[in-house]
């Protein structure tokens, strides 16, 4: 099963969270190892999110004045990993959501999260370690109640793998 070789719909993305109250987050090496990732990316660890938000790395740039040049210079500088604000339909009995809630109250629980996207044949995984900041329930009438939480990834702890 190769890397997907077509443009993927956003709909094909799914999100998983490492289980357990005190997980041992994967190391940087494990985050790029398919066997470590696929052990976590199973249906029991699925976060039932409404949509997977943007993930990756934020922009950071420094501008420099260059003497004698008409234009200045822009150099990418130390960039933060992108925080993910996730909206999930709130089922109070969902063990993965309640674990995220516990993490949010703790603030220091670090676990591995995985985002997968598939074309039906191959799957690509983006894995990262993060801690949960925000967690709130949006119970507006007129739709299902939503659990909104924010994952702040740790720096330099990410990995891309695929089912090659």
């Amino acid at each position: 099963m190769p890397l997907p070789s077509k443009i993927l719909p956003g709909f094909s993305a799914a999100m998983y969270a490492q289980p357990g109250a005190s997980p041992t987050a994967l190391t940087a090496a494990q985050l790029t190892t398919l066997a470590s990732i696929t052990a976590i990316a199973i249906s029991g660890n699925l976060l039932n999110v409404e949509a997977v938000p943007a993930f990756g790395q934020d922009d950071a740039v420094a501008s420099f004045t260059v003497a004698g040049s008409r234009q200045s210079d822009k150099i990418p500088s130390q960039a933060a990993p992108t925080s993910l604000t996730v909206t999930a339909a709130w089922n109070p009995s969902d063990t993965v959501i309640t674990q995220v809630r516990t993490d949010a109250y703790s603030g220091i629980t670090e676990r591995t999260y995985i985002i997968s996207a598939t074309d039906g044949t191959g799957t690509i995984y983006y894995a990262f370690n993060g801690r949960v900041g925000e967690f709130k329930i949006d119970a507006q009438p007129g739709a299902e109640a939503k659990a909104v939480f924010t994952i702040h990834p740790r720096g330099n702890l990410y990995g891309w793998t695929n089912t090659a």
Binding site: G10, F11, S12, A13, A14, M15, S43, L46, N48, V49, E50, A51, V52, A89, N91, D94, T118, P141, G142, A143, E144
Partner: protein, 138 residues
């Protein structure tokens, strides 16, 4: 995580609930309407059955259903039609709890919108149309 719910249950519950509200006035699903012989009767039709679908490969990652059923009230007497509409409003609007009796399901809210009233000269029937949205937690 919510599995796809069964519209057959919706239909059964709507029929049960409406009969209980307006008894002894007959209630029909739309295709049964019998304007030739009944001086006053109700029909209903169900629409907008839809659970929002969320991301991922899990088919059961869906939201709540908020289907709408239209209630059509027919009566030869305008006052009867309005009275019946009021009975439905009083009973159904804002209702939350068991919907459709013991074999029904829980709803979080029923929201009734009176659309309009009318008169059909050919049939000789006053008509009132109501939309009822029900929120069904999954």
């Amino acid at each position: 995580m919510a599995t796809q719910q069964n519209p057959v249950q919706y239909a059964n519950a709507i029929q049960y609930q409406l009969i209980n509200i307006v008894t002894p006035v007959p209630v029909y699903a739309n295709f049964n309407r019998n304007w030739a012989t009944e001086p006053t009767f109700l029909t209903w039709q169900l629409r907008n059955v839809h659970q929002p679908v969320y991301t991922g490969q899990n088919q059961n990652n869906k939201g709540i259903d908020r289907p709408i059923f239209q209630i059509s009230i027919f009566s030869q007497v305008m006052n009867t039609a309005f009275g019946l509409a009021n009975t439905i409003l009083q009973s159904l609007h804002g209702y939350s709890g068991l919907f459709g009796g013991a074999s029904g399901f829980q709803i979080s809210k029923a929201d009734v919108m009176w659309l309009y009233n009318s008169y059909d000269n050919t049939l000789g029937l006053h008509q009132i149309f109501l939309d009822c949205t029900i929120d069904i937690p999954t």
